[in-house]
Subunit: 450 residues, 2 copies
C-alpha cells in the first residue's frame, strides 16, 4: 500500500516523486501497512531519525541535521534539565490529579505568574494542544450558551472531532462546522497600506453578524497569537485589540492559542498575545511545555470557567500527572536560567537580518518577517503581484533538508518558509541556516529556469 | 473558594463533610484557587500521595496504601522495566511521527499480533483514551457518513467535546448529543433469568431504529467490553455478539473501548472483547498502555479507516513519540515476562472467592462478579429487591481508605465497589483486601444501624 497523496499538507512526502534508497522505501512500506492511510511523513526523501542532541537530529547513518522546525524540543533535544526531571519523577511517582500533589500546584503558580496583567486565574491541564483547544471550546460553550466559532482562514487548532471542524488548514476534505466562520488572516505584506487592526476587527464583526443572522450564538474567537499556520503574522503589535473587543461585546470569549508561539519564543514576552496588550479569557498552551513530554493545558479567568465548573467535572487520566508537571517546571526553570527569551530575541533578529540581506540577490524572497525565534520567509513568483510560489518553496525546503537543515512551510499558498528553531540556537548556527538557505535559493532558481 | 459538590461523581470529595487536618485543608484551598472549579478529589479525606512503589501508594507522612483502584500503573507503580525504558529513550530522542522511527513500527506489530482472529490491521496512536475514542468517532463518521452513536446508560468514554456528548456517566448537567442513544447496561444480576444477549441485541436494534426514525444515520455502537462504569459486567461471555451483528447490519461500526479492560486485565485474553468472540471494526486502548506514560490509541480494520485516510491526514504532535512507544513496548514485554495475565486470573479468582465468602455474613453484598483482576461487589439494601445502597457503599469506600486500601465505586446506583488492582497483586495482598473489606462492611453496618 502507498501513502495517500496529500496536496493539502505543506511539505508532505509524496510517494514516487523522488527515488528513495531501498532501506527507506522498505521502511515506508512497512509503516504504511502498520499505521494505515492517515499518517504522513515530511520531505520528498523522508528522514529516519534515531537521536537528538541540542539543535541537532541525527539519522541512522550518523548524519546530523540542524533542526529549525521543531518547536516542541524548544530547549534543544534531550535537554538534561528536563530528562533529569522526568527520570527522577518517573521513578518516584506518576499518578493523577485526584490525589493532592505539590508539582501541579507549583506549576499552576508559576504559569499564572507569567500573566499578571490579565485576569487569568486557573490552570487546567491536558496532554495535547488539541485537547486544550477542545476543552476551551467546551468552556466557551458553557459560558456563552453559544456554539459559534470564529478562526482565521488557514488556522490549525487540533484534530479532535470538535476542533478539526474549526481547523481549515486540514484542507477542503475535512468539513468545517456549520457553526464555524473563517476570517481572512491579517497579512501586513498583502494589506496595501490598509490599517490591519481596523480590517481584522471589521472582518470579525462581519463574522459575528453572519453567525447571528444564521441563529448561531457566538462562543469564541480563537486565534494563534502569531498566526503560525496563516504564515506567521506578528505585525503590527496591537492589531488584535479591536477584534477581541468585538467578540467580547458580542458575548463571546477571546481565546489565544499559544500552543505554537508560547513559552518565550517571541523573545519579548512569555506569550504571543502579550505583544498586543490584550486580555484573553482563555489561553491555551502546549507543544514546548514539556520539551517533548506530552503536556499541555489552558489558563482561564474565573468568570470564563464558572459555568463549566458548575456543570462538568474535569478529569484527564494522564494530564497533570506528576511526571508531566515536573517536566514542565524544568522547562520554565531552563527558559529563565539560560536566558532563552533574550537569546530568542537576539539570534532571531540575526536570522531575520541575514535572510533579509539574501533578498537583495534573491527576488523570490517577497517578505521576511517574524518575532523572536519565529521567522517567516514568503516566497513569491513576482514581487509586485506577490503571487505565492508553492513549487519554488517546496524545492527550497527539500534542498535544505538534503543540505542538512530541517524546516518546513506554511500559509494558504504553501509558500512561506516556517523557521522555528529551538530557543538555544547560537549565532554560528544561525549562520549555517542563512548560508544553507542561500544555496537552496540558488539551487531552486536554477531548477526553475532549467 | 470551595470545591463544587458533585453528587454525580462516585466517591468525590465533598467539602465540609469530614473534618480535615489543617495541612490537607490548606492544600485543598490552594488547589481550588489554582485549578478552578472543575477539578475533583477522591475520598471524604483526600490523599496527598508523594511516592509509588509496586502496589503501594505512600503519603506525605510515610503511610502506605494498597492501591487496588489504579489501572494505569497496571504493572505496579514505577515498574523499573518501564521507568528504565523511558529514561533510556528520553535521553536519546523524543520526537514525532513525521520522521521514520523503529519503535512505533515495532509497537504496531506487537499490538496487532494480539488480535490475530480479527481484521484489525492498523495502529494509530493518541495520548489519551479520550482522544482515541474521539478519533474513532471521526473514523466512524467518515466510513458511514452517519453521526448516530449508541452507548450504554452509564458509559464513560472521555471528556472531549464530541466524546462527552456520549459519556452519560458525566451526569445530567453534561448534555448528550441529539445524535446519541443510550441502551440499558446488560446486567445479569438484574436480568431475572432473561437471555442477556437477546435483550441487549433488542435494545441496540431499538436504538438503531429510533436513530433512523429521527433521520440520523448510525455511525457506531461503542461499548467498554466489560462495561466498567456500568458496574463491571463480563457475563455471560458471548452476549455481545448479537448487538455487534445488529450495528453492522445497520451500516455502523462496532467499537470496543478497551481503555479500562485491556492489556491482560481479564486474565484470559489481552482484550475484553475477545471473551465474546466478536470482531470489532475498531478497538480503542489507553490507560495501562504506558504504565503511567501518556500513551493511547486505536487499532482499526483497513476497511473502517479507508475513508478517513482518504479525506484526512492524522497527526498528533506527542502521540507515537519515541518515548511513549518505548514505554508501551516495555509494558507489553513485562506482561509477558512476568506472566501477569495468569496472575490476574489466579489472584483475581482468589479475590472473588474470598469476597463471596464474606457474603455469608454480610447481607449488603448482593453480587460478587468480575473477570481476572477486575472485581465488582454490588451493595444493596435488600437482596430480594436489589435496591442500590449508595450511602453504605460510600461508607465502605471511605472506611477502606482510612484502613489503607484504595478503591472506588461505579454503576448508575453508585453502589458497586470497583476493584481494579495492579496485575501484580499477590495472594497475600489479596488477603489484605478481603480482610479490610470485612472490617469496612462491619463498620458500615454499625454506622447504618446506629
Amino acid at each position: 500500500m502507498k501513502s495517500t497523496i496529500d496536496l493539502n499538507m505543506v511539505n508532505a512526502f509524496i510517494p514516487g516523486r523522488t527515488k528513495l534508497d531501498n532501506l527507506t522505501a522498505a521502511m515506508i512500506d512497512r509503516r504504511d501497512a502498520l499505521l494505515g492511510p492517515a499518517y504522513r511523513l515530511m520531505y520528498e526523501n523522508p528522514l529516519h531519525i534515531v537521536r537528538g542532541e541540542g539543535v541537532w537530529l541525527i539519522d541512522g547513518q550518523g548524519r546530523r541535521y540542524l533542526d529549525i522546525y521543531n518547536n516542541v524540543a524548544s530547549l534543544g533535544h534531550c535537554h538534561p534539565a528536563v530528562t533529569d526531571a522526568i527520570c527522577k519523577q518517573v521513578k518516584m511517582l506518576a499518578t493523577n490529579t485526584r490525589y493532592l500533589h505539590d508539582t501541579i500546584l507549583e506549576l499552576a503558580e508559576r504559569m499564572l505568574s507569567t500573566v499578571p496583567e490579565t485576569n487569568l486565574a486557573h490552570l487546567m491541564l491536558t496532554c495535547t494542544g488539541s485537547e486544550a483547544n477542545d476543552v476551551a471550546y467546551r468552556i466557551a460553550q458553557a459560558h456563552t450558551g453559544g456554539t459559534g466559532v470564529i478562526v482565521t482562514e488557514t488556522a490549525y487548532h487540533g484534530f479532535t472531532d470538535a476542533v478539526a471542524k474549526f481547523s481549515p488548514s486540514l484542507g477542503p476534505t475535512v468539513d468545517l462546522g456549520a457553526h464555524v466562520r473563517l476570517v481572512p488572516a491579517p497579512r501586513l505584506y498583502h494589506a496595501e497600506g490598509a490599517d490591519l487592526g481596523e480590517r481584522f476587527t471589521r472582518d470579525v464583526e462581519a463574522a459575528i453578524a453572519d453567525l447571528k443572522r444564521h441563529g448561531i450564538k457566538p462562543a469564541m474567537l480563537l486565534v494563534d497569537s502569531v498566526f503560525t499556520s496563516d504564515g506567521i503574522l506578528p505585525e503590527p503589535a496591537g492589531f488584535l485589540k479591536g477584534a477581541t473587543d468585538a467578540i467580547k461585546r458580542a458575548g463571546g470569549l477571546f481565546i489565544a492559542d499559544e500552543v505554537q508561539p508560547g513559552f518565550g519564543r517571541t523573545g519579548e514576552h512569555m506569550w504571543g498575545f502579550q505583544r498586543h496588550r490584550i486580555k484573553p479569557d482563555i489561553v491555551t498552551v502546549g507543544k514546548p511545555m514539556g520539551n517533548g513530554q506530552p503536556v499541555a493545558g489552558l489558563m482561564a479567568t474565573s468568570d470564563a470557567v464558572a459555568e463549566f465548573g458548575q456543570n462538568s467535572r474535569y478529569f484527564n487520566t494522564f494530564a497533570g500527572n506528576t511526571v508531566s508537571c515536573a517536566a514542565a517546571l524544568a522547562v520554565l526553570d531552563t527558559i529563565e536560567e539560560e536566558g532563552l527569551m533574550q537569546n530568542a530575541a537576539d539570534v532571531g533578529k540575526i536570522l531575520r537580518d541575514g535572510i533579509s540581506e539574501l533578498a537583495v540577490h534573491h527576488r523570490a524572497i517577497g517578505d521576511v518577517r517574524g518575532v523572536g525565534m519565529f521567522v517567516a520567509v514568503e516566497l513569491v513568483s513576482d514581487r509586485k503581484t506577490r503571487v505565492p510560489d508553492r513549487e519554488f518553496t517546496s524545492l527550497v525546503v527539500n534542498r535544505m533538508r538534503e543540505k542538512g537543515v530541517l524546516l518546513s512551510a506554511c500559509a494558504m499558498g504553501h509558500n512561506v518558509l516556517k523557521i522555528r528553531p529551538p530557543l538555544i540556537l547560537s549565532v554560528e548556527q544561525a549562520g549555517i541556516v542563512i548560508e544553507t538557505l542561500e544555496e537552496a535559493l540558488t539551487f531552486a532558481r536554477a531548477v526553475e529556469s532549467s
